[in-house]
Structures are given as structure tokens and as C-alpha cells.
Symmetry: C2
């Protein structure tokens, strides 16, 4: 019997999936363990893989197969997942074919050149050096946005956002971010006042041997449900969660003088990893079986890091483990390992210039600023040369800080220079989603909170698996949130979480 159009598409996308997994492992290898001299050869390997995948996805017959499968209702109403699978195949194909080959090539060359120059420019705080490259990237980003907007019948910004966050729309983001933007400045002032009335946090004194840090991280990862038969923990300059759903590889970076940041980083990436590990095996190899967009992904890491692991319950549980792991580090009195002290350390708020170092309260400010700026640039309301002034004005207005140089300002993030436009809002959407999902989980299963206090994360993981991980890409992010919590994403739960954590005493 001849394969149906749907079956032919499944075969093609299964092979695309396999090659995508290969690319993911190579990316991990490049960041974590590749010897430096292999960088150029690795670039050629990745380019060849990408070219093969692009050719398979954009081949002339794919459009015909999609149309045929859709017109005869293959995988249709009878099976929601097959229908969603077909929808996700079309989404991948539309994004891949929306751009002409010349534009794809020009964009790839421009971002590669810009990123290289940016690395040097950031070090020296020299925005002028990278400006011509950023202008070229922005010009091409606008062309990409225009081409995708026409193809997808979306606005310019949404056409880019859709790639990171499928079906994410600025019409939904705007009211959420406006709410936070109105709330955060006054709230931040209250938090700083409240914090000033608390005892100062005592910083643990190192050195903290890397082996001990790693062992503690592994111990907590296992407790949280990370499966080392299907994953690894390694080291890289920029921590990330890579690999594949069958082989999730997270990385961190250790500092012998400060264990707190690597440890929380490991727990954050573990949240990402648990999502990947929880994707449904039955749909492995099909687009519908992939993780949903970046906002849901970030919600899973932030749920583990911010909602669970910076909570007083978790820190009370983990404090003796930290004390034990670093018992060899001299000069730490018992007060250091008191839950209250660790809680103050891990919930310390301090407005600063750098997004990746920001606390939970000020992080959304950094993101909202970037969202406004990139939207204005994409829509032609802001030019690259005016970015530093607009950035500094925003930082001053929203946090009362003025960067001393663009190094602490608009040069700090790789995203725009590397071609990732329309990505930033997913960080704060993720934070809001994390709060709402965790609230929903605790209401659905009262055992979750008590479990965290005694290091039993099974009830939480079970709820996440069923309500988030198992859904994969069968639903949009908005639908996952709605089904899991009974309402659309709103800012109330996130704000309630911030108020409870940062205006009430905790941990002692």
C-alpha cells in the first residue's frame, strides 16, 4: 500500500528530527568539550548539517504533501494530536520557506560578522565599532520580518516572535507588560525599604572545591527527578540546557569563591531538563512531540529555580546539605547556614545594570525595556544609532540607573547582534507562567508544598508531567496555561508571589 501524504510527511520530518538531534549534540559538544582548534572545522560541519536539513524541509514536494494531507483531512478531527502534528509541520515549513535563499544567506553572514565584532566591542564598550554591523543586521531583520509578516498575515514583530513562541502575539503581551511596568517601580521601592529593615545576609566564605559543588548539584538534581541515564552535567562558559530529550545535557560554570550562583544555575537548568525528559515518548520524532515555545520552556526552569528552590521551604531542606558539602570551607559560622540567612542571600534585591545578574524583582524591568526597544527597531520607529540613548533613558526612567558605558548598557546581551529578535519577552512571560503554574499545582495537590519541605519533589513533578510536559506541542503555550490553571495567563499570581516573597519576612 502506498504511503499517504501524511505518512510521507512523517517520514521526512522524522529524518529532520534525527538530524536536528545530531545538531543539538554537536552544539553541546562545541560549547562544553570541543578543543579550541576545531572551531573552524566544526562551523563547516554544522553548516553542512543545516544545509541538508533546510533542503529537506523546503523541497518542492513538501508544500504539495502538506496541502494534500490537509485537504483530505488526514490526521484530522479524529485524532487531535495528528492534526496538531500536521499543523506543526506546516508551521516549520512556512517559516523555512518564507524567506528567499538570498535573504537567508545574507542574514546568516551579517549576524555571524556582527556577533564576531560585538565580542570585541562589548569588551571595550565601543558601540560605534559594532554599529555598522548592527545596522546591517537590523536592515535584514526588517526584511525578514516583512517577508514573514506577509506570509503569516501577522504584524512585523509578531512574525519574528512566532518563531520563538508559536502563536505568541504582542497584543497579548502588551497589557501584561503594561501592568508590570506600572506595578514594579513602586513595588521595588517598598522592597528596598523592607529589605533595609532585615538583617544583612552573611556571605559564605570559600573556597568551595569544584568537586563538592558538583556533588551537591548532582545530589539535588537527582532528588528533583533528573535521570542521569538520560543526561549529563558538564561545564561551559555560558550555562545552558542542551542535547536532546533522550540525552539532556546541562552545563554550569563554577566559581571556587561562590557556590551560590552555580548551584542555583544548575537547578535552573534542571527545570529545563525535566521538561525535555518529560516530553511524551510516543510522539518522539514528530514536531508535535517537541517542547512548546521558549516561554513555556523558561517557565519550567523558573518554576524550579524561582518558585521552588529560592523558597524558604526548599532552603530549609537544602541548608544542612550545603553545610555538609562545604564543611571543609573554613570561616563559616553556623549563622551562615541558617535557613533565614540563605533565604536572604537567595532573595536579595538590588537594581543593577546587567540583566543576567538581576534578581527576580528587577529582571522584568530589563526584559520590558528590551521588548520596547526591539519592537521599535523592528517597526522602524528607532534606528540602531539611537539605541544607546534610548537604552539609557529607559534604564534611568525604570530603574533610576545610568550605565557608565554601553558595556553595561546596550552591548551586554548577545541576542540582537546574533540575530535573535523577538526573543526577549519570553523570559518574563516564562516568569509569570511559572508563578501561575506553581500556584495551580499547589492548589491541585496540597502534598506539593509539604513534599518540597522534605525533599520529595515527586508530587510536583507528577503534576508538571501531566499538565505541561506531556502536552508537548499539541497545544499553544496559552492553551497549556489555561488548561492547567483554569484561566489565561494574567499578572496577578506573579505579583502576589513577588509581594509574598519580598514584603513578608521569611526563612527564620
Amino acid at each position: 500500500m502506498a504511503a499517504t501524504p501524511y505518512e510521507q510527511l512523517e517520514d521526512r520530518f522524522e529524518r529532520l528530527f534525527q538530524l536536528g538531534q545530531v545538531e543539538a549534540i554537536l552544539h553541546w559538544d562545541t560549547a562544553a568539550i570541543m578543543p579550541s582548534g576545531a572551531a573552524e572545522a566544526r562551523g563547516r560541519q554544522l553548516a553542512a548539517l543545516r544545509a541538508v536539513r533546510h533542503g529537506m524541509l523546503t523541497a518542492a514536494e513538501v508544500g504539495d504533501l502538506l496541502a494534500a494531507a490537509e485537504s483530505i483531512g488526514e490526521g484530522g478531527e479524529a485524532d487531535r494530536w495528528r492534526a496538531a502534528n500536521l499543523r506543526e509541520m506546516r508551521r516549520a515549513w512556512v517559516h523555512a520557506t518564507a524567506l528567499g535563499e538570498d535573504l537567508v544567506l545574507a542574514f546568516s553572514k551579517a549576524t555571524s560578522a556582527c556577533e564576531t565584532v560585538w565580542r570585541q566591542a562589548r569588551r571595550s564598550g565601543d558601540f560605534a565599532a559594532v554599529l555598522p554591523y548592527l545596522e546591517e543586521v537590523l536592515s535584514l531583520v526588517r526584511q525578514v520580518a516583512a517577508a514573514k509578516a506577509e506570509r503569516l498575515s501577522l504584524g512585523l514583530y509578531d512574525a519574528l516572535l512566532d518563531e520563538w513562541e508559536p502563536e505568541g502575539r504582542s497584543a497579548q503581551i502588551d497589557p501584561l507588560f503594561q501592568d508590570l511596568e506600572a506595578f514594579l517601580p513602586g513595588f521595588l521601592a517598598q522592597v528596598m525599604e523592607h529589605q533595609a529593615r532585615q538583617p544583612a545576609a552573611i556571605t559564605p566564605q570559600g573556597p568551595f572545591p569544584v568537586e563538592n559543588q558538583r556533588a551537591l548539584g548532582v545530589r539535588l538534581m537527582k532528588m528533583l527527578g533528573f535521570d542521569f541515564d538520560h543526561g549529563r552535567l558538564d561545564v561551559s562558559h555560558h550555562p545552558f540546557c542542551g542535547g536532546t530529550a533522550d540525552d539532556v545535557r546541562i552545563t554550569t560554570r563554577y566559581d571556587e569563591n561562590d557556590f551560590t550562583s552555580a548551584l542555583m544555575g544548575v537547578l535552573h537548568e534542571t527545570g529545563h531538563a525535566l521538561y525535555e525528559l518529560g516530553l511524551p515518548r510516543k510522539w518522539r520524532g514528530r514536531p508535535v512531540g517537541d517542547a512548546r515555545g521558549m516561554a513555556i520552556h523558561e517557565s519550567q526552569s523558573l518554576l524550579i529555580e524561582m518558585q521552588v528552590c529560592r523558597s524558604a521551604e526548599f532552603l530549609a531542606f537544602a541548608a544542612p546539605m550545603m553545610k555538609e558539602a562545604f564543611s571543609g570551607s573554613p570561616g563559616n559560622q553556623n549563622g551562615v547556614w541558617a535557613t533565614g540567612n540563605l533565604y536572604r542571600l537567595y532573595t536579595r534585591v538590588e537594581p543593577s545594570f546587567i540583566r543576567v545578574e538581576a534578581d527576580e524583582v528587577t529582571y522584568p524591568v530589563h526584559v520590558i525595556l528590551r521588548y520596547h526597544l526591539e519592537k521599535a527597531m523592528i517597526e522602524g520607529r528607532l534606528e540602531a544609532r539611537d539605541l544607546p540613548a534610548a537604552w539609557n533613558e529607559g534604564m534611568d526612567r525604570m530603574l533610576g540607573l545610568t550605565p557608565a558605558s554601553d558595556r553595561e548598557g546596550c552591548l551586554q546581551d548577545i541576542h540582537w547582534y546574533d540575530g535573535a529578535w523577538g526573543y526577549f519577552p519570553t523570559y518574563t512571560l516564562g516568569a509569570m507562567t511559572a508563578a501561575q503554574l506553581f500556584d495551580g499545582a499547589k492548589k491541585a495537590d496540597p502534598a506539593i508544598t509539604g513534599g518540597i519541605a522534605k525533599g520529595d519533589f515527586a508530587p510536583l513533578l507528577s503534576w508538571l508531567r501531566e499538565n505541561v510536559h506531556a502536552k508537548a506541542s499539541s497545544l499553544s503555550g496559552a492553551e497549556i496555561i489555561h488548561q492547567a490553571t483554569g484561566r489565561p495567563l494574567d499578572p496577578l499570581t506573579f505579583k502576589a508571589h513577588l509581594k509574598s516573597r519580598y514584603l513578608e519576612d521569611g526563612g527564620d
Copy 2:
């Protein structure tokens, strides 16, 4: 200007090369660091990669492009390397297209099933359990040999050998192996007598911490010329040299009670690695730029291991480094680290059942036995069910040993069960080649021997780079040997080496 047929072929083979590099890195990853639960997913990734490469190599237009490029003499006489490149492209294409798709698939399934059953059968010494699978593999091997023999106008055995050792022919191997087969039994008896008159070697007492073993290995690797900017040293169950010429990854396996075997293993793989690292960058990505067959590859590892690192000169140089590395291991008197003792340890001869544990003198016996047996099986003169009896008869006749079970007999090597037929002779061709090349090198540059004695391997590496590594696949293995040493491969130098090492006193 339109691309010529030769240029079109170069583009296609460059992409094939990149995907081949990707596959090599994944193979290394699988053996060295992949979490066990990812094995099945990894199998699918590799299968997808292989299918894509096979499709690119066997596409209808490749034959036409080869014919066109050859007929207009592209890359012809004017440039020997371009002509050789075209020749190697045709070789790859002929091997890939000689077999029908059904046969390729059946062979792949049969070897995969057989290898799985063999792993269990070897543990329990149960040849009967794997026999039906081996019979299926052998039946398909004969079909593969027949198809390739017809396509290549070669004998059955040579058609398989040609894939491992391009242009290797049994007509050249037979007289060489007959010579050794006549020489070795009598020689072995002399060696055993000579050895009995020597002092017994004192075995160093561990434990030898893994970190110290690794540090010593790395130190010697660097001295030999291994470039850690283009390579790594890791751990795997079966040591190997993997990765790519820009990123050579060797592995070893440490035993805390015995450093000698892991250390010599590292030096052996370093020989392989130096070959890869020495391949000409100018021809990277083209078939002519690849390493020549397995015999030359093995000659490079054996030259470093057997000719250089088990020599009295090298051991005199390395002895203080070993003593220093393991100074923390109690119970070793100074006599242990005396060059004479280390030399006796590293040149100890003892007939045994297991090839991979065999010494330099008896190793060829193991190989020659397998060569005879696999040739007989391929040519239909021996059936799989008669293999154990034939094996045991050969072991008895050649080494005077009878395996207690097939575990120590015909079940010990993965090769046949995994589909690698026509591979075995390359081990001993490599050993003979190593002896002849090393002899040629020392005669060409008298500084080489003195260099080894003081840890300066630059003169040797320089000669190998120029006379072997830089030739890549521009010549056949036989031509490389002839050009480098002024004569074809013959058994004289190898035998002279054995006599000098095993019948004369050394090291003290």
C-alpha cells in the same frame, strides 16, 4: 561560469566529508560519554546520517559526473593530486553502489542482530547461541563479496579487503604471511628459551591513581607531538582513536592496579592520532586528503608503540617520569623503575589465547589464523558451524594452545559478528610496515634514535609527516612504503626487529 563536473563532484564530496566528520564525533560521543539511556535514540540519529550520506553518494548524477570528469581528463595528468582525488571519489562511489539497497539493508540488520547476540554469547562461551546469526551474516558477506568482486573485477576476499585497505590484495599478503608462519614457531621457541635465562620482571605495585596515570599519559602525548588544541584524551571501555583530523579524540581505560597497559595504550592511540593530525590541511574535505587504509593507520600506531615506546631508549628516558608519577605508590623498590626491568616488562612474551592481550611476537600468529579462517569462510571452503574446530586446530598447531571454551576462542573478537570481514590482515601488515618505516626513518635521519633517548621526537615526527602523513590518499599503501623506504614491503626488517629485540639482552 558553470561548475565543471570535477568541481561539482568536489562540492558533493566536501559535504559528504562534513557529514562523515559529524558521524565520527557522534561515534566518539557514543563510546566515551553518552548516557546509557540514549543508546536507542543515538542509533536512529546515526542511521539517519548514514542514509543521507548514502543517498548523496549514490545519487544517479554521481556516476555521470565521474564519467564526464574522467573523460575530459579533469584534474588529470597535470595535477597528480587532483587525479588521485578523482580516483578516490570513484572508489567510494563504486563501493557504495556495488550493492543493491536490499542487500545493504539485510546486511545492516543481520550484523546488528548478530552483534547483540554475540555480546551475550561471548560472556557465556555459547557459540551455538550465536551460530544461526553468524550463518546469516556469513551468507550475506558472501553475497556482498560476490557483488563487489564482480563490480571491481577482483577475487572474493580482495573485494572485501579493498574497503579497509584500498588496493590491498591477498596475492601480496600470502607470501608475506607464509614467510612469517614459517618463521614464527621456531623463533618463538628461541625467544622463550632466551627469556627463561633473563631475570624475572618485577611487576610494579599499585594502586596507581587514575589522575596520575592520566597526567603521565598527557605529558608523553605532548612530547610525542599530540596537539591538545586539536584533540582530547578520554575514557572508554574499548580504547580507540576517533574524532576527526581537526579534533582527534583518543580514549583509554585505566586500571588502578596496573598502569603499564593503559599507558602503552595511550601511546599506541597517539600514533594513530599523529597520523590524523599530520594529514595535509590543503586537501581537507576531499577523499584524497583522508588517511590511507587501515594497514598504514595501524603502522603509525605500532611504530609509536612497538618501535619507539617499547624500545630500551624510550624506556630509559621514560623511567624517571614513571617513578615520579607513581612515587606515592608504596612498596616499589628502585629496581622496579630500572630501565632493564621496565624493558623486560614491556617486552615479555607469553603465548596466550586472546589476541588483544598478545605480545608483539605472538600477535601475528593470531592474525594469520584469522586471515586463513575468514578467507576460507568467504570463499566457501569453511562453514560457520565448523569454525570452532578449525579455530582450535589452528591455535594448537601454531601456538600449542587449546582454548578451554569458545570464549577464549572464536568468540573473542567482535569483527566477524559485526560484519567486518577482510579487516584482520591489516594488523600484521601494519606491524611489518611499522618496522620497515622506522628502519627507513632511522637510516634517513641519524638524529632520530638519539632524539628518542632524550625525549625529543621532533626528528621522527618530521620524517613521518613528510614521508607518510603528508601523502594522505594520494598513493596506495604499497606506494607509500616503497617511496619512503626504497623497496616494497618485505618481512625481513620486521623479522630483524624481532630478533634484535627478543633474542638480545637489552635495557640494562
